[in-house]
Each structure stands twice: as C-alpha cells, then as structure tokens.
Symmetry: C2
Subunit: 523 residues, 2 copies
C-alpha cells in the first residue's frame, strides 16, 4: 500500500481497493467545483397504485438490492433502533452478500451486525461506529477499513457523489401513504429527521419503514414523499426507552463541575456572555451543566441569548419558554420536551445536516454560534482533538458533529478533565486526530486552561491573543498548552496503544480529505 | 422543419435549433429512468466573508452571467413584481445578449421585457407568458418558439436537466445573511416560495433579491441558504397592491352562478359531498364561489372536508378556522389571510411545486383530491381543454397548474360558459390543446353538462359511466358532449384564428412531450 504524509504529518493511504484518497491539507478545506449525478429522479407510479408494501422482504425485492450494493440508515432511533438489525436480518436470509453499509451512526444495540460481517453479508462500513462493532474492527476483523466521517462530512460526501447510496432504509415514526413522513409523532417519535434527509434525496431507492401509517397528510412533513419509493409498515421501529432519554443527567462530579465553572468564567471575562449570545449545546453531562448555567445566568440578569443550536434537551426548551433564548434549531432531539417544543414553538425549527455544518453548503447553522462546547478522549499540545479512539488504540466512537461544530462555530471550547483513570488526557500527540488543532480555541480543564494563539487566520490569532491577555490580567488560570500537558502528567503515565500493521479505519475531514489512519490493536 | 403527428393528431416539430422534441403519446406520460447532473454542489465561502452584495450589478458580475445563458424567476409577486424587470434592465445596461429566460409565469407588468427582446438581450422564453408578451410572440416577433410548461412540468424539466438554469434571480420578502429566506414575512410578503424552490436547488448560481434583510435566522425557512450564493438588498421587490388581492371577487354573474350551482348539484348527486371530501380550489370567480358554497354547506350540515389544496384565499382559511376543513396545503397565497394562516395554523402547510403535481415525483398533493375545478378558454368534443390561446389564435395565457391538477385529481370538472361574446366555447376542435381530454371528467356549463365516458383507464371509464346513469336518473341536465356543442352553437358562429406559418410556441405535456404547436397569427 502506498502512503503519503498529510499536512498534520499523519500517514494516509493513496488508494484502497481502487478508491483514491486525498491527504488533509488545511482546515479551510479543499474547494472542489463539484457537479454530481443525482440518483433516480423519477418515481412515476401507475395512477391508483400504492407505495405501501407488505414486508421488508418485499421492499428488498422491489428495490433490486443485490450483492455489492451500498445501503444506508439513520441513527435518530439511537440505542432503541430496531430498523438496522431487522433489515440486515432479512437481507441475510436472502443471501445477499458483500454490502457496504452507511449508517449515520451505530450504537451498542447494533452488535448483531458483527454476525452479518462474519458471514459476508456486510463487507464494509462507511459512516460512524461505536462500541462493540468498533472494538471488533479494531482487532482487524474487517476486510476493508472503516471510513469515518462527521455528520456533515457524510452529507457532503452523499451530495457530491463520493458516497453513493443504492437503497436507503429509513425508520419514520409517522408516515402517510404517499411517503410524507416525520419523526415528531407516533409511538416511536424521535425528533427531527435530518440524518435521513440526504439519504432519501440522493439514494437510488428510498424505503420508509414505519410503525405509524397515518392518512395523508402526515404533518409536519420532514421528508417529502417525493423522495420516497416504498413504504413498509411494521409493528415497531424502536424501543422508546432507548430512543429518548427520560432523565438526562447533569454532571455532579466535582472535577466536571469545576470545568463548567472555569468555562463560564472565561466566557464572562472575555465578554461573550452579553445580550445576544449564541451557542451550541449537546447532551453530555458537562454540556448540560453549561447550558443550565447559561440559562440561569441570563434569567437572573434578565438578559436574552439570541440563538442556540441543539442537540436539544429540556434545558434549551426551558430557556426558549422563559424568554432567555430567542431562537432554537434542532438537528437531534434528546428528550420529549424537545419534540413537544418543535411541534409547538414557532421559534424552534428542525434542520437537516446539510444546513447544520456541511463545509460546502455555504449556510451552516453553526456559523452564527459565538461559542460551542465539545468533549474529547484526548487532546495534544498542538490542540488536536481525538474523540474516536481511546489511548489504548481501540476505535470506540464516531466523529459525530465534532469537526462540524469546531469548524463552524466562532469559538470552540474543549472541556476535558486533565486525566481519566490515571491516564493523562493532554498528550504530546493524540492517538488519532479527529479535529485538527486549527479548529480549536480553548482547552478547559478542572485546573487550568490554554488558549490557542497559533492560528493561520490572522483575525482569529489576534482575537485569541487578546483573550489570553485579558485572562491573564483578570488572574484566570490560563497557561500554555505545554504547561497543561505537564499538569496532566502529574496524574500518571501515558497509556500507549500497541498497534498492529493493519489499516482498520480512516478519519476523513469534513472536506473529504484524510486526517488520520487508524491501525489495528494487538490484544 | 420536420414535423410528426402526436397521438392527438397535432403537428409537433422533431427538433428546433438542435433541441429534440418528443410527441405526446399518452396522458399517463413517458417514464424515463432519469439520472441528472446537479448544478454546483459547493458553496464554500472564506470563513467570515459575507454573501450580501452591494447591488444587482455586483450579483450579475459575481455569477459570471454571459451571452447565451439561461436565467430564471418566480412569479409569486405576480403583477406587483419588480424583480424581473429590474434584473433585465441591469443586464441590458451591461450589454449581455441572447439570454433564455425561464419565468415560472409572467404578468402584464412584465411588458418591458418586449424591449429586451427587441434589442437582443432576451432571445427566447421557456416557462409561462401572459398578456402583452404573449400577443407580441403571437405576431411572430420572436426568433425562437416559446416553450410552455405547466407549473409542475417546469419543475420536472428543471429537476431532470431538460431545463438548465445558469442563474436564478429570486425575490424574497424576508432573508437572513446566510440566505435562509421566505415569502411569508416582510413588507412585500407573497406567501409560499414553492415556485422558486427548484430554481434555487438546481441553478448553477442562486441570487436572492430582498427588501427585508433580517438577522439570522429568517423563520420559517422556505428556501435554505444552502441553496443560495448571493444576496442583494434593494428598496422594494414588489408593489403590495399587485402581489396579493385585498378583495378577491366572488362571481355575481348569473350564468357563472348557474355553473356553480350545477357543479354543486352534480357533486351532491354522485355522492362526493360527504364527510372527508377533499378538493382543489383556486382564485377565479367561479372557483371562489364554489369554495364558499362547499364551506357553507359543510358548516350547515356540521360535516368536515378532509383536505384542500390551494391557491389559497380567505374562503379556505375560514373553513380551516371553523372546523369544516381539516388540513390545507398552499402552493400560492392569494390574500393576506392565507399568509397569516400559514404562519399560525399547524394544519396548514406550504408546499413546493415538486410536491404539488410533478408527474415523476410519486407523491403529489393533487392525488388525494376527490375533485378539482378548472376553467378553459375553449373545450372540444373530445373533452380537450384550451387555456393558452383564444379562439382568435392569440397566445395570451400560461398553462398554470391546469395539466397538473387535471392529471392528479381524481375527478376534474371544467367550469365554462357555453359561449363568450357570441363565440361558442364548446368546439369541434380546440385551437390549442392544453390539457388532453383523457384528463377531464366533466364539462359543466350554465345550461347542461357532459361526462367523459371514454377513458382508457377501465376503472375511470366505469366510474364515469356509473355517474352518468345516476345523473340521468336524478333528472340532472346531463347531455352528450356533442349535444353540448350544439347548445353552444346556438349562441353564434365559431371565431376561427387566421394563422400564419411561423411556429411561435409549443405546449408541453407534464411529462415533457409536445402536446401542441402554436402558430403565428395574421393580423
């Protein structure tokens, strides 16, 4: 295999199985003038005929699915998803082999996919993987490397033809006989439908699998029936207990709460927390705590934030309801209150991933964000962030929206503890680069924080230098990233992965270039 | 020029200026397995740069508009539109020549386009035209024939690559700096944005022209900024008095009211007017009267209609509000109450033209309609309908949604007077075929009506035969179409056009085939 070094000095293959790969060059991305061929643009039906089929088997037959094709799934049903396993099971029964699967994310519930890999039904995975399947891949069990893309990187690849979908199998919690559907109603409601939107639009054939077939029109229409070929009604697309979290937990760990306090103090001192503040929040414990702190602060001061981009939970909905937040966009709902609000609040809108953060879409909902808060499994002294592998080398997480938010938002805070179980989290070099340091502005730990003052964009460099000066003047615990590394080392020695030689995965940047390669782990 | 006869025995050119044309075959349409190349799918911007430009001139320059290109416009601003004339004026100043323009419709306000045709700025028109420009074309003044498409035929052509748009210039009444925009807010609010949606999605470059630039996010988002390259803020995109009708007038002409009563009686007797009835209404005087009659009837009986597809006016909104209508979709708003309702009523939703009635989209909002009411300039004894030309041959109207609704809806009523100014409206043969008789079920006049019992779809033929028997039994004035022709002839002699030899226009069917050719008129 021929390799090149990318601009982060990481090894990238030139080609794998006749597919060419391009090395990462800059966080500003390559800018191809892409035209692409769309999937089938006719869905003519005999007048009077129905799109509703009897079974998944029938749908598989009607789509013409055959050996070597690529099929896609969305992950809005999260760890409650029944669709992916059900479809793969039916495909196995039919003996179709060598499929490429393109899930927008996978969860522990998808462990049965390993059996489908073993018997040759599934040959490769492009998308996001997680937990058991990641561990399986890390041990060198797959014939082809897993291609990891961020949420928006996946949609960019689909819309540019880099990733061709033969059949999309999409769970919908509510669908009408013309295929108009949403995820906001029905017993398996999961929220916005953005992770399936591009799949439906660009796939050669789109199958909606639903457990709530309602009369026309299914409102609101998140995916129009104009992008749908077939509909299958089944008993249940998901386990509600795994779809939405009833009880999202704010962190109560003292070190995490210290990270939250430090982040709030930095934002306060550098002047972010004024009227009109806009931000991105998620559903992690630290992120929830930050959202709640921001909400409480603005409520106490009688001020307004202008905009939040969720990963939406009741904490954001409460801000919308009590007037401390003016507008809210949601790409993923994490609890029922997010769904209720989407159905009822005019200033709360559903977005698709192309709008969320596609580097080539020119209008991302991350761009207006003054600040975003992201986590990490590791960071390093070049501010590079890893969220994919652990220090022992196992590939256990997808990219999610990490690169997307880090690229789009005006200021990216990485909130991490200095160490986990004795393993220093600030490294000389991250095991895997997920988001290049050029996208990261501040690393906040429970003890101190570091600001990235090396940036190729002059105005960002200047701004961050100014912020560093302000923080020093205000006696905040701002240190250099090297000092942060030293502090982390006080907790123990680095865990280092024992890598084998096999290429088991590649991390793509949002523009489609290769940021890093992931090798197999020796047990 | 080589000609062929299509299945309606109308002459169609085989090719014009190296573009091939295909003759109409069947109302069920041709069914191409089309893949197409999308316009540019990257809109990368330098981080921090703005989409908002200083002027239309600047936008023209930035899009690279040059001789021979195709530019498009939507007609939501109707006879109040300032955008088309303004853009053409700036293009003329720049000396760009031989453009093809693709307006979704034109209005009398666009008469200045004739000057741009005369000086060679505009060479050809594909889309819809109206009034003065139509008369100008009829007199053989244009170098190339005008290609007429229905609303959905236009979108089908765009989405299949038959119609390539280099630059779309789209007026928006409300837009944010990322290009997210709508027509529902702002001083020039015009309603849904569906006639511009496909243009923005498929054009090589999309320019939004707005008179209300608001902070992110412009909600609701009808066209996402992901489909927008440039934004220009101008003083006014339209004259509100020409955009929305403040006072839509229900017909008070006795012959028209008789047509309305007859239509209601037919629908009642054949059992359409029951709970759950669904229908398509428009803004013409007869259509308004029918809508009001239906609303009053359902209100009096305490019944519900399930669904209406508008062309929306206050008469439909009132039904939604008083509970006689469950769900309402709108592709065009004709008054302010339609816009207010779209912003406030959850069961009222905006649709794009692809959803409305694209024969190849597989999920049209016309399909669920039990009945639709359409007008005509002429009909003939084969039930063919003309809405484009008058009997004197002048091309004065676009197709609008005529074919779309006639194809999609389950039962199509043509409501026409037997004669206009002494000219019998029921002809041996229509001057121009707009909607083939195969799509038409009933011709209702003030005196009698005819049901189309010749239909190639067996179930439709059977149904219409049954309906005819019911109407005869109930002593309704049902007659054969030939008798209807005779009754029309009692009012006078046919006006017949004096045609020249020049091909000045072609009427395309919704599938892209040529239904009819329009020749020049001898003055």
């Amino acid at each position: 295999m021929e390799w090149v070094l990318n601009s982060k000095e990481r090894k990238c293959p030139v080609s794998v199985n006749k597919v060419e790969y391009h090395p990462y060059m800059t966080h500003l991305g390559i800018r191809p003038e892409v035209h692409r061929e769309v999937g089938r643009v006719t869905r003519w039906r005999t007048p009077g005929s129905s799109k509703v089929l009897d079974s998944i088997d029938d749908a598989i037959d009607r789509t013409g699915l055959s050996d070597g094709m690529a099929i896609s799934f969305h992950h809005h049903l999260r760890n409650g998803d029944k669709v992916l396993n059900l479809v793969i099971e039916r495909i196995r029964k039919k003996g179709i082999k060598n499929l490429k699967i393109l899930p927008s994310a996978m969860f522990p519930v998808h462990e049965p996919i390993i059996d489908a890999i073993k018997d040759g039904t599934v040959r490769s995975i492009e998308g996001s993987l997680n937990g058991p399947v990641g561990r399986y891949a890390s041990l060198g069990n797959m014939e082809e490397p897993v291609i990891l893309r961020s949420h928006s990187g996946r949609v960019r690849a689909i819309s540019q033809g880099e990733l061709k979908i033969d059949v999309a199998f999409l769970g919908a919690s509510c669908c009408d006989p013309l295929g108009n559907c949403n995820g906001l109603k029905g017993p398996s409601a999961f929220g916005p439908f953005g992770f399936g939107y591009a799949d439906a639009l660009y796939a050669e054939k789109t199958v909606i699998i639903t457990d709530d077939l309602v009369p026309f029109p299914a409102l609101p229409i998140s995916i129009p029936g104009t992008n749908v070929d077939h509909i299958v009604k089944i008993d249940s697309i998901g386990d509600p207990s795994g779809i939405l979290s009833g009880t999202l937990k704010i962190t109560d760990r003292p070190d995490h709460l210290k990270i939250v306090d430090n982040t709030m103090e930095i934002m306060d001192k550098i002047g972010l927390l004024k009227d009109g503040f806009s931000f991105q929040a998620g559903a992690g414990g630290i992120s929830l705590a930050l959202t709640k702190k921001i909400g409480d602060l603005y409520y106490a001061k009688g001020m307004k934030t202008s905009y939040a981009n969720g990963g939406t939970t009741r904490f954001l909905v409460e801000m919308l309801n009590n007037g401390t937040l003016e507008t809210l966009s949601t790409g993923q709902a994490f609890d029922l209150s997010a769904i209720e609000s989407l159905l009822n609040d005019k200033n709360h809108f559903e977005i698709v991933v192309d709008q969320y953060s596609n580097i080539h879409s020119g209008a991302t909902t991350t761009e207006p964000e003054n600040a975003a808060f992201l986590g990490a499994t590791e960071v390093d002294i070049d501010f590079n962030v890893n969220v994919n592998t652990h220090s022992d080398g196992y590939l256990l997480h997808g990219i999610g929206g990490h690169q997307d938010v880090a690229y789009g938002s005006q200021m990216t805070f990485i909130t991490v503890p200095l160490s986990r179980k004795g393993n220093p989290i600030i490294k000389e070099e991250v095991t895997t680069i997920t988001s290049p340091g050029e996208l990261i502005d501040v690393i906040v730990t429970e003890n101190a924080f570091a600001i990235n003052t090396e940036h190729i964009r002059k105005e960002v460099k200047q701004r961050n230098e100014d912020f560093e000066i302000i923080c020093r003047k205000q006696s905040l615990p701002v240190v250099s990233i090297d000092e942060l590394r030293k502090k982390a080392l006080e907790y123990g020695e680095d865990i280092n992965a024992k890598f084998g030689d096999q290429l088991v995965g590649m991390v793509k940047y949002i523009d489609g270039t290769v940021l890093d390669s992931i090798r197999s782990v020796k047990e």
